[in-house]
Amino acid sequence: MTMLQATGLTKTFVTTVPKEGKLKAVRTLFSRERKTVTAVKSLDMRVKEGEFVGFIGPNGAGKSTTIKMLCGILHPSAGEVKIAGLSPQRDRRRVARRIGVVFGQRSQLWWDLPLKDSFDILAAMFRLGAQEKERQLAKLEEVLQLRDFWDTPVRRLSLGQRMRGDLAAALLHDPALLVLDEPTIGMDATAKRQIRDHLKLLNAEFGKTVLLTTHDMDDIETLCERVIVISRGEMLYDGGLAKLRERIGLPTTVRVTFAAETRLAPGMRIGGSLSAASEVRVVDIQGREVAVGCNRAQVGVMEVLRLLSEWGDIADVHVEEPDFEDIVSRIY
């Protein structure tokens, strides 16, 4: 069954171009000069019940805007969204009962009150009876272990605890779809791992459909069977993680420090005999330090070093895998 469907989803923002110089605030206010920014460009996506989908893209790609249209916070400029058959814009309140949303950078909990008070309020808001609420809390307790800290005011919880609280708050009304916007942001490795385990359980054991945006590649790798990549508001890729890897390969930057300056220049290709897919190209030179880019799926680091050593004696080597999202946006 289709849980979420977006067709031709588009969002444009109209902003006033700020003026410079004297009285700029007043002149900006009365300025007729407008700039239209397209944040999301006719996006089509479909998520089936029970799926765990990663939604990724560089900063400013339109992820948050898309998410907000999916939950009914923003109204699309064109196109439409259906959550379990309902429009989040026309039927906002009914859709709110069917989805649970967590924004990693913002909490929906009552900051100054103990966690369990937030659950009481939300239960009343979603019209859960006392029994139903207890049953839900017992279920969530199994997955998220909240009781140890639910008498503590939310502002005094650790980031990981707060996120568990926020997850529980989003799940209290037993929504079928869970939308998570960077739930692991700012957490240390242990907390991240914990949250991931919780999310996995929610999907596998409780059958929740999950849509997750994150900048953390480990989140994606451990959780998502499918990824949707967007950049500049457009869909770049929609499919399995393995296939995306295959398409991108393993782009790697090798930094070497030569014993003396070489005749290498930026943009130069080395190892002329190699095919285009496996080219090794100089990306940056700073004195004796030279950075070359290559695709590790095609050409091994040892081979790159062998090629580089033809240009001079190598004193030091450093291999780095660039940020996944950087690569994604660069490749496409």
Binding site: S64, I73, L74, R93, R97, L113, I121, A124
Partner: protein, 263 residues
């Protein structure tokens, strides 16, 4: 009414959250009432010096003041979120409220509470004393009391409607603080005095654009001055209803324009 119960629950929660910072709460309450008292004393001193302004004596002007301020603080009490709407737009606080299965305006109103006990007591005292005096010297009859209660209600509705319209304009402009200084603070200050003192353009503005004149001046022309007919009361109610309808319409359109904030 289920929503009423939840609103009450949220109100209590807000108060409890507020009480976490008891000292700050006490200080704000104290300061607010000092400001109200000082404000009225200023007005009273001026009036006392002049005796009367264009046929309005101290008690009559005190009546205008009392009605206006009571309406203002009632509005500030339950419409505090609308009155301070800018952070909802600038910080994207509205996002979370849109995810609740409640009518949006109700979510907004219940998301913030300002306790106005002190200020309300001030303005009701002024109003009570002035009505007492006017009853005593026979200026008004007993019917003035239910009529005053009614116009306090319609006045609160007018205040709320103007506040809501100002907040709704924020969906286009994002910033509303400067605008609300004009629509709320300036208009309120002007309406503490009888509108007949003002030049035509200002009077028109306060009757037709920001209808604060209907909070106190127009109905007082019937209740206190008996210069205008009984029609002022239904007219006041009609203005309140119309302003409310217009503000709600603007709000509804505005919500579709909500831009939220980037993360």
């Amino acid at each position: 009414m289920n929503w009423l119960r939840i609103s009450w629950m949220l109100y209590k929660i807000n108060v409890r959250a507020r009480m976490q910072y008891r000292l700050s709460f006490l200080l704000t309450t104290l300061l607010a009432s000092v400001v109200t008292v000082a404000e009225f004393l200023g007005l009273a001193v001026v009036l006392h010096a002049f005796g009367a302004i264009r046929g309005w004596n101290v008690w009559e002007i005190g009546y205008l003041y009392g009605v206006l301020m009571t309406a203002k603080y009632l509005y500030r009490g339950f419409g505090s979120a609308v009155n301070n709407f800018e952070p909802y737009l600038v910080n994207g606080q509205l996002d979370q409220l849109l995810l609740r299965p409640m009518p949006l305006l109700l979510s907004v109103l219940t998301s913030r509470t300002r306790m106005i006990g002190g200020e309300l007591l001030q303005s009701l005292t002024v109003l009570g004393v002035c009505i007492g005096k006017l009853l005593g010297d026979g200026t008004v009859g007993w019917t003035a009391i239910p009529a005053t209660l009614l116009i306090v209600c319609t006045g609160t509705v007018i205040m709320f409607a103007v506040g809501l319209a100002t907040a709704a304009i924020g969906f286009w402009t994002t910033r509303t603080e400067d605008l609300s200084v004009l629509t709320d603070n300036a208009s309120t200050t002007a309406c503490q005095l009888p509108l007949s003192l003002f030049p035509d353009w200002l009077r028109t503005l306060l009757l037709a654009v920001i209808p604060f004149g209907f909070i106190n001046y127009v109905p007082a022309m019937f209740i206190v001055k008996a210069e205008w007919g009984w029609w002022t009361i239904p007219a006041t109610a009609a203005v309140a209803a119309l302003s409310m309808a217009a503000a709600l319409g603007l709000w509804r359109v505005g919500v579709r324009k909500y831009q939220s904030t980037g993360t």
